[in-house]
């Protein structure tokens, strides 16, 4: 599939029907430093359709994770809009943001971020339980598909990095999110493990029909997704 035309800071890409699940409009973010505010995002525009996959690339420190955190309502933007299902989530209250993270968005972190005192099974089910949407059959299937059946009663410290990341993927997908975000999910894995994990994730994403936005610095992995964009000097450019 050919990549669509690049997003510019001034114009939006024409979304192919149906309307994009996610639209980022003129997003801005700076960090305070002793030398004054440091702009990281200078008016970013982005659109992502339901079921589509997009790789966000860029140099270290360019703001990829910042953009991901803003889209995942883990942080607050300085300006702009983030529309999810046409609702500007950047302006939601704290409780509404938490509800969104619980029920609509799944996040896979580079450092896995499993809860150390819960078993694999408990970690897998945790977000779905929080959202009140635990589906035992889907849970069972995820466990099997992710190769975790024999590990369900272990604790995260007893797993390898690859195994922990699979648990993190399972946890994020158990709630059947509309939007799945991944921040360098293969960063702590070797090449083979990373490839395998990504392949499995993309399979599951396709099955669930959620949109998938992945931050990566690997062009090889980014090529596996439908589209690629590059963040540089605070703006998105085609990759």
């Amino acid at each position: 599939m050919n990549a669509p035309s690049v997003l510019s800071s001034a114009a939006f890409v024409d979304a192919k029907p149906p309307a994009p699940l996610l639209r980022v409009v003129n997003l801005r973010k700076s960090y305070a430093t002793p030398q004054g505010p440091l702009p990281v995002l200078r008016g970013v525009n982005l659109a992502l359709e339901a079921g589509a996959t997009l790789a966000l690339m860029g140099e270290s420190g360019c703001g990829k994770s910042t953009l991901l955190h803003l889209v995942g309502v883990l942080d607050h933007a300085d300006g702009g809009e983030i529309l999810l299902d046409s609702v500007d989530i950047a302006r939601l209250s704290e409780n509404a943001r938490a509800a969104l993270r619980r029920e609509t968005i799944g996040v896979i972190f580079q450092q896995f971020n499993l809860i150390a005192s819960l078993t694999v099974a408990e970690n897998l089910a945790f977000q779905a339980r929080l959202a009140g949407r635990l589906d035992p059959q889907w849970q069972e299937e995820l466990t099997r598909r992710l190769g975790l059946k024999t590990l369900v009663s272990r604790y995260p410290e007893q797993l390898s990095g690859g195994q922990q990341q699979r648990v993190a993927v399972g946890r994020a997908l158990a709630v059947r999110p509309k939007l799945l975000l991944a921040d360098e999910p293969t960063g702590n894995l070797d090449e083979a493990a990373g490839d395998a994990m990504l392949a499995l994730t993309l399979q599951l994403v396709e099955e669930t029909g959620c949109a998938f936005l992945m931050v990566t610095h690997s062009a090889r992995l980014a090529a596996r997704l439908q589209r690629r964009v590059r963040l540089a000097t605070g703006a998105l450019t085609p990759s």
Binding site: D75, L100, R102, E103, Q111, S117, L118, L130, E157
Partner: protein, 821 residues
């Protein structure tokens, strides 16, 4: 609700993986609650006993009529009032000795007893008849019967040889008391036609004017809501106990604070993940509060039960102290109501909430992503140290201000409390500064790391070290005061108890007979009668003791103030020696004139000396015995001291007992009096010593809990050093050394703090509480002991975590690099 529930379960799963940390947290809160509620149980039990004793005459809001100047009054006044239409009932109280115990003997007239009183069985016609006819009846509580090793129906015999009527157990009798018909009491106490009070029936009320019309100025009205003397006299004792309990609670509170603080630190990654997964801040805090509630119920419940057991264990010593010091009788069985249980739980809850409060507010205030970044917390800690230094300075200023305003017990405690708090807050700051100096002076890289890493470790250990400092300082402070008191007391006893034999005759007639015999004995070098009367000054009970002029007193009796002329003036003029506590209470000095209430007219006496009277809660005046006898016709003249050649003491005592038998109510030698006095002293401070030791144990647990909780977090700091070639064993040894140095630092600061505490207790608290001032003593050998205790405490607390580190598998350390957060 669902969100909170699952969040709570996730949070509590942390304790499933760290059961030892959970155990130390629960233990800390439980011990703190136990020590506090144990002390409160002792106080509550005592007050219950005092109220029960007082209520025997004023229960139901009844007025009493008592001697205006204290002591007894003639039965004629009762007759006059009855003839004038006043519905009053006579009563007589006194102390009788049954076996080895002093018993409060209460004589009442059951027929005229007001209905409102709680002595219900005496109102029943049958019992009223029984008490008056045949053998009569004696009433006591079941506990009193057990204390006397007597059963119902037994007839107790007093030391003077009087046999009381058969005993009946009743529920409402106060502890340590036997109630009999007033005629029996008058005979037993040898107070014919004498009464100690008239109880006014609830149907009438008497005002001062009406009373004066009938009885002149002989009697006064005692309203039911007047605090009884016993409760007032023992206020200071109980306040001291409460202060100690509070200190113990605070030290235990530090454990809880440290445990909660470190638990937050350990659960930071989990909190970050929970927030990232969509748990709202509100749900997170609600879950944390629920967790707190669970801890409160579990730990508080254990603590309250522990408090009950501690109180039950200490009750005999407290009861003995109160009996010895104040003549108070406590029920030996601990009975507590629901309010005590609930207050213990409330204290546990308040402690837990306070301890977890800062972590809770931090969790609420920090944004989702900042929770993830450890640097945010580290910056928070630097500003925490600065804040701590500022708070320490404020506390020390508050201590100085409280000292300037110090005019009572509470301000005295505030001075000590603020100083302790200020020093404790300063400790981590001081250690951090010393470590920085050490780091800058260090040469080798490992030594530099030793100091730099120590500054990092201080953050997690500061509360535990503060708890250790408080416990050590308290040991030095209270220990110094007690030892100083012991030395002063022993010297004072030696000066006061110069006579070789002390005895009490059964009656004045017996006293005269015995005195005449003693005058004929070659072994007896001097006979010193000691006359006693009672009065009230500034509404405070005062004993007046009449002394004969003899070198036993002029050469030995200790005076704090008084010229060489004091003894001459005492016997040749209207003069008095006043006890230190009474002088403070009345704010009088040497040379002032004192108006002493006496039957007839007041006695104006010049103060010619001030003497120490340690352990006496009442005021005391010492006067010439002949002048006393002239002013107080009621003065008791049955007590005597004898100067006897030491080798002849046993022989003289045996001869007196053989010759006079029951005519001598009591006879003891100097050694026995000293032993009894010293025993009371020791038992009083047994409670203090027990609480001291428990407080030290609590601080050791605090240090252990902190080290254990830190040990997991410490891996991230230690792993890189191990990776570059330092062995685990060496690292463990360095950890141990660091803890020993921290504890030594705490011990060094504890010495001046403890000395300050001794001074505060001696110069402010004791003076406000008891009225006497002890000389200040310091005991360097105690400091050395405390230093060793600090090092041993640190060793005990640190050995397990250090051993664990030394034996940790390389994979544990490698995991730090594999999954660094």
């Amino acid at each position: 609700m669902r969100e909170t529930l699952w969040t709570l379960l996730a949070l509590m799963s942390h304790w499933r993986r760290h059961p030892v940390n959970l155990a130390t947290l629960i233990l800390g809160l439980a011990i703190a609650t136990a020590l506090w509620s144990g002390v409160q149980a002792l106080n509550a039990q005592a007050r219950k006993s005092y109220d029960s004793a007082a209520a025997i005459f004023s229960g139901g809001g009844l007025q009493n009529l008592v001697a205006a100047r204290g002591g007894l009054f003639t039965q004629e006044l009762f007759v006059k009032l009855r003839r004038a239409g006043a519905k009053v009932s006579p009563a007589l109280e006194g102390t009788a000795r049954v076996g080895e115990k002093n018993i409060r003997l209460i004589g009442v007239e059951p027929v005229t007893l007001p209905r409102a009183l709680t002595l219900v069985p005496l109102r029943e016609t049958k019992e009223a008849t029984n008490i008056l006819t045949g053998e009569g009846r004696s009433f006591a509580s079941a506990q009193t019967l057990r204390d006397l090793s007597l059963s119902e129906g037994a007839r107790p015999k007093t030391q003077r040889g009087f046999i009381l009527p058969p005993l009946v157990a009743i529920e409402k009798a106060p502890p340590g008391a036997i109630i009999v018909d007033i005629g029996v009491a008058q005979k037993t106490l040898d107070k014919p036609q004498r009464l100690s009070r008239l109880i006014v029936s609830g149907e009438t009320r008497i005002d001062a004017a009406t009373l004066a019309e009938v009885t002149g100025d002989a009697l006064r009205v005692e309203e039911p809501d007047e605090a009884n003397d016993l409760s007032r006299l023992t206020d200071s004792f109980h306040l001291n106990l409460t202060a100690f309990g509070l200190l113990a609670f605070l030290v235990g509170f530090f454990i809880v604070n440290a445990s909660f603080g470190l638990a937050f630190e350990q659960r930071l990654p989990m909190v970050r993940t929970l927030r990232a997964l969509g748990v709202s801040a509100r749900a997170l805090v609600a879950s944390l509060v629920c967790e707190l509630l669970v801890f409160t119920l579990v730990a508080g419940g254990i603590g309250v039960i522990g408090g009950y057991l501690i109180a039950a264990a200490l009750l005999p010593d407290v009861a003995a102290s109160l009996e010895g010091l104040y003549g108070a009788q406590l029920s030996g069985r601990l009975t507590l109501d629901a309010r005590w249980w609930l207050s213990g739980l409330a204290m546990a809850g308040a402690g837990a909430l306070l301890a977890a409060g800062s972590g809770l507010s931090k969790t609420l205030r920090l944004p989702v992503l900042s929770v993830a970044r450890p640097i945010a917390w580290r910056e928070a800690h630097h500003s925490y140290l600065r804040r701590q230094a500022a708070l320490a300075a404020l506390s020390l200023v508050a201590a100085a201000l409280a000292y300037r305003a110090a005019d009572g017990l509470v301000t005295g405690f505030l001075v000590i409390a603020f100083a302790l708090l200020g020093a404790a807050l300063l400790l981590p700051v001081a250690l951090a500064v010393l470590l920085r100096i050490g780091e800058s002076l260090a040469r080798g890289p490992l030594v530099r790391w030793f100091f730099a890493d120590g500054r990092q470790e201080i953050a997690g250990l500061s509360l535990a070290l503060m708890a250790l400092l408080l416990a050590l300082a308290t040991n030095i402070g209270v220990g110094g005061m007690v030892e100083g008191f012991r030395r002063t007391f022993t010297g004072w006893l030696d000066a006061r108890l110069v006579a070789e034999i002390y005895y009490e005759a059964a009656t004045p007639a017996d006293a005269r007979e015995i005195e005449e015999w003693t005058r004929g004995q070659r072994n007896i070098a001097a006979i010193l009668p000691v006359w006693r009367a009672k009065t009230r000054l500034d509404d405070w009970p005062v004993d007046i003791v009449g002394m004969t002029p003899h070198e036993t007193y002029s050469a030995h009796f200790p005076l704090l103030e008084g010229g060489d002329d004091a003894w001459r003036a005492l016997h040749e003029e209207d003069a008095a020696l006043i006890s230190e506590q009474l002088a403070r209470r009345l704010k009088v000095r040497l040379g002032d004139a004192l108006d002493i209430p006496a039957p007839g007219e007041n006695w104006r006496a010049k103060i010619v000396g001030v003497f120490p009277d340690y352990g006496n809660p009442k005021g005391q005046l010492r006067v010439d015995h002949e002048r006393l006898a002239r002013r107080f016709a009621d003065a008791s003249g049955v007590h005597y001291s004898l100067r006897v050649a030491p080798a002849a003491v046993a022989q003289v005592m045996a001869e007196m007992q053989t010759r006079f038998g029951p005519k001598i109510a009591r006879i003891v030698d100097q050694a026995e009096v000293k032993k009894v006095s010293t025993d009371i002293f020791e038992r009083t401070f047994t409670v203090t010593a027990a609480l001291n030791t428990l407080t030290l144990i609590v601080s050791a647990i605090a240090l252990f809990a902190s080290l254990l909780t830190l040990s997991n977090l410490r891996l991230a700091q230690i792993a890189p050093v191990w990776a570059v070639g330092v062995t685990r064993r060496r690292l463990a040894g360095l950890e141990l050394l660091r803890i020993l140095l921290f504890s030594a630092g705490a011990a060094l600061l504890a010495v001046p703090l403890g000395i300050f505490m001794t001074w505060g207790l001696v110069a402010i608290v004791n003076v406000a509480a008891f009225g006497w001032r002890l000389p200040m003593h310091v005991f360097p050998e105690q400091w050395a002991q405390v230093f060793v205790v600090a090092l041993v405490t640190a060793l005990v607390a640190a050995i397990a975590p250090a051993t664990r580190l030394a034996r940790s598998a390389p994979t544990d350390l490698l995991k730090v690099f594999a999954n660094e957060r």
